[in-house]
């Protein structure tokens, strides 16, 4: 892969490279051969650079003139779109002066290929920056992390109230959900991949099908079974069950993929040494797959932390700290954000942003841990 990427784009070699060699051959033998210069393998010549810079400058100027001064247009989005179109035109035109058509097509496509990730990158950066900036007023108060919202009115200042109840709720709900779905998921994956036999195909098909279950439907399922038919109160346990319902097929499938990556040769070596099935799975397969399993687990947790729809239906939203998952409503971070935005009060909106920033930090931390656990090993 790297060899290919490091190669230069095929291009006309720099013009000054050729005349150097020709006189050296025709010259008298007595003259010491000229020092050979290393050929520059970088694909970009100075001319290319000037073309790019020139096209950029010309397009900015033209767009500014026509967009803001001559035509009655306005708006940032329109400016950027028009600028991009004009830039592509200029760039293609300037390239066409010196290069054949395939090179022009290549350059035009290159602008699009660079523009798309840039656009997404800007969007992602603006998501993160906006969340932190808007949440800053609430985040800078330490009570935001140590108090709950009981008795706090929507428009109270940020020195009152916080998200402790939502943090604790998320922690408990996700812990229960993972505690249910992880062992079951891994055991199912072991069954599908290591034991096999009758039924394993059916299990695999059904589990794969259920990964398509939308999270809101998982929530609705638990809502109607546990809350409506069984009469359970809205509680953290119900929310955890909903999250587990959603996560179980995902965990099982991710673990199955990870177990499939374990080389068959290791299993055979283990059997050849006289190990049994259980010993092979426990001492060879699972330890080999451990980084991958940990990554799958942590990414699953990250997903469960941010999932709003199932908890919206099942947990009820408390304003006070409740660490008992079987009784009384329990809040969680996504639910807190949703409820706060729905109130429409500016203070609550900023609290929602602050909670979203905390959630982003949690997800990012989990993600970094997942990377560290994976230890640079490639697990797909």
């Amino acid at each position: 892969m790297t060899t290919l990427a490091d190669r230069p784009a095929p291009q006309v070699p720099p013009a000054d490279a050729q005349p150097e060699t020709a006189p050296a051959e025709s010259g008298p033998v007595a003259v010491a051969p000229e020092v050979e210069h290393l050929r520059r393998t970088s694909g970009r010549t100075r001319e290319d650079l000037y073309t790019l810079v020139g096209a950029a400058a010309a397009s900015v100027a033209t767009t500014w003139l026509f967009y803001t001064k001559i035509f009655p247009f306005e708006g940032t989005v329109g400016f950027v779109v028009v600028w991009y179109a004009v830039f592509v035109l200029f760039y293609a035109g300037l390239t066409a002066l010196t290069h054949p058509r395939p090179v022009v097509a290549d350059r035009v496509v290159a602008t699009a290929v660079v523009a798309a990730p840039t656009l997404v990158g800007i969007a992602l950066a603006s998501v993160v920056i906006m969340t932190f900036i808007k949440g800053m007023p609430a985040l800078t108060h330490s009570n935001f992390f140590t108090e709950d919202m009981s008795g706090v009115r929507a428009d109270d200042p940020f020195t009152m109230g916080g998200i402790l109840h939502a943090l604790v709720g998320t922690l408990i709900e996700v812990a229960i959900a993972v505690g249910i779905s992880m062992p079951l998921g891994v055991a199912t994956a072991v069954f599908m991949s290591e034991v096999g036999g009758p039924g394993s195909r059916l299990v695999r098909t059904v589990v794969e099908a259920m990964t398509a279950l939308p999270s809101i439907v998982a929530g609705l399922f638990i809502y109607s079974v546990c809350l409506v038919y069984l009469g359970m109160p809205a509680s953290g346990l119900a929310a955890a069950l909903a999250l587990a319902t959603m996560a179980l097929p995902i965990m099982a499938r991710a673990s199955y993929v990870v177990l499939g990556v374990v080389p068959g040769g290791l299993r055979e070596a283990s059997y050849a040494l006289g190990a049994g099935r259980w010993q092979t799975v426990w001492k060879v397969v699972l330890p080999t797959a451990r980084p991958g399993l940990a990554t799958a687990l942590i990414l699953g947790i990250a997903r469960a932390v941010g999932e709003t729809a199932p908890v919206l239906l099942t947990s009820g939203a408390s304003t006070y700290l409740n660490s008992n998952p079987v009784q009384d409503p329990m809040n969680s971070l996504p639910l807190f954000i949703y409820a706060s935005v729905s109130t429409g009060s500016p203070q609550m909106e900023e609290r929602a942003y602050a909670a979203a920033a905390v959630m982003l930090v949690v997800v990012l931390t989990l993600f970094v841990i997942a990377r560290l656990v994976a230890g640079g090993r490639k697990v797909r």
């Binding site: 892969m1 990427a5 290549d106 059916l202 589990v207 809101i216 006289g274 941010g306 979203a356 997800v363």
Partner: protein
């Protein structure tokens, strides 16, 4: 490892007697594994867990399916053709939400797929090799960002700009049914009455949030498939003097076609079920209309999220039916995607 465990094959059937010499026919021996107690516990235990999970997981599907029977008995086929959702008058139908779901998902695909293809190509073929791992990681990280954060972002950052764009498009391209908005388009967008409110909370704006949700998934599927394009053919194209784009067009894109289709289908499956970012953005309206820039739409998941609380048992079963329909839609789309993606990968399975 203990020496007690012998899952070794046990010879059954006629053992060749060496003293017998000639006359004994060789017959294939039967290989049987005699598992130790430990292994028997393990095998049966894991099979039991697998079956329990099978029962749990299929119970969900069965439950949803069974719940839809009373609904269909009560409302008949009108449940699928009625577009209004008026529980108080016992008029309930899901055609509007189904159409809205598909609209939002398709618009999101229109945004996300070109971006995903270009980004995947950038990662595999244009980006410098040392940047590649961090780009891949960034896309993975984006997949982990909760949907509600994208919902907030669209609601407060994107919507003010998006409504301006929608207004402009409807003003100049309103003759095209998709872009029509039933308001006075000559009114400036900042004007309260027919301006901003006619454009905010449309399927188009909800689709932007969904785009952010499905983009990482589509990109990573496509990136994996593009990355598996045969190196030799790529180098051959370059050696023949192709530009990078010519190489990509002739080698990478044909090779990755099934990956592109599969990634698109997977993204569609995700887009159909996306809930919370859509709920935050849209203004709920039960109406079948092609005007995607106009305020007001509804999706199955937003319908469930907004009306489960006041639902009576019969309406709850109607909601469950709607959820079942949604599940069937995503199931079909995902299965197709799985078939397509697996077909693209099946050829090169390497082992130790």
């Amino acid at each position: 490892m203990s020496g007690k465990v012998h899952p070794t094959p046990v010879l059954d059937g006629p053992a060749g007697d060496p003293s017998d010499g000639l006359g004994v026919e060789d017959s294939p021996r039967q290989v049987k594994a005699r598992h130790s107690l430990q292994d028997q516990v393990f095998i049966h235990g894991s099979r039991a867990i697998g079956l329990v999970v099978l029962v749990i997981v299929s119970a969900i599907g069965l439950f949803l399916g069974l719940q839809s029977i009373p609904t269909l008995q009560h409302y008949g086929l009108g449940f699928f053709t009625e577009f209004r959702w008026l529980p108080s008058q016992d008029i309930i139908g899901i055609s509007a939400v189904v159409v809205g779901t598909i609209q939002v998902a398709l618009i999101a695909l229109v945004f996300a797929i070109p971006l995903a293809i270009l980004t995947a190509l950038f990662i595999t073929d244009w980006a410098p090799a040392r940047l590649r791992p961090s780009l891949i990681r960034a896309v993975d990280l984006m997949a982990a960002v909760p949907g509600i954060v994208f919902g907030l972002w669209v609601l407060f950052i994107i919507q003010p700009h998006a409504t301006v764009v929608a207004h402009w498009v409807s003003k100049y391209f309103g003759w095209f049914p998709l872009f029509h908005v039933r308001t006075d388009v000559d009114y400036p967008i900042w004007n309260q009455a027919p301006g901003y409110p006619s454009y905010a909370g449309s399927a188009f704006i909800a689709a932007i949030a969904v785009t952010m949700m499905i983009f990482p998934m589509a990109t990573s599927v496509m990136r994996e498939v593009f990355g598996e394009a045969p190196l030799g053919e790529k180098e051959a194209a370059l050696a023949l003097g192709a530009t990078k784009w010519a190489m990509v067009r002739t080698v990478v894109l044909p090779f990755g076609r099934s990956g592109m289709v599969g990634g698109t289908m997977l993204a569609l499956g995700r887009a159909l079920g996306e809930t919370i970012s859509v709920v935050l953005v849209i203004s709920q309206a039960f109406e079948i209309k092609p005007y995607v820039l106009e305020s007001g739409t509804s999706t199955i998941s937003s319908l469930i999220a907004s009306s489960f609380k006041e639902a009576s048992p019969s309406q709850l079963s109607a909601l469950l039916t709607a959820g079942f329909v949604l599940f069937c839609m995503t199931l079909i789309v995902n299965s197709l995607a799985a078939v397509i993606v697996s077909r693209s990968r099946g050829r090169d399975v390497t082992d130790l």
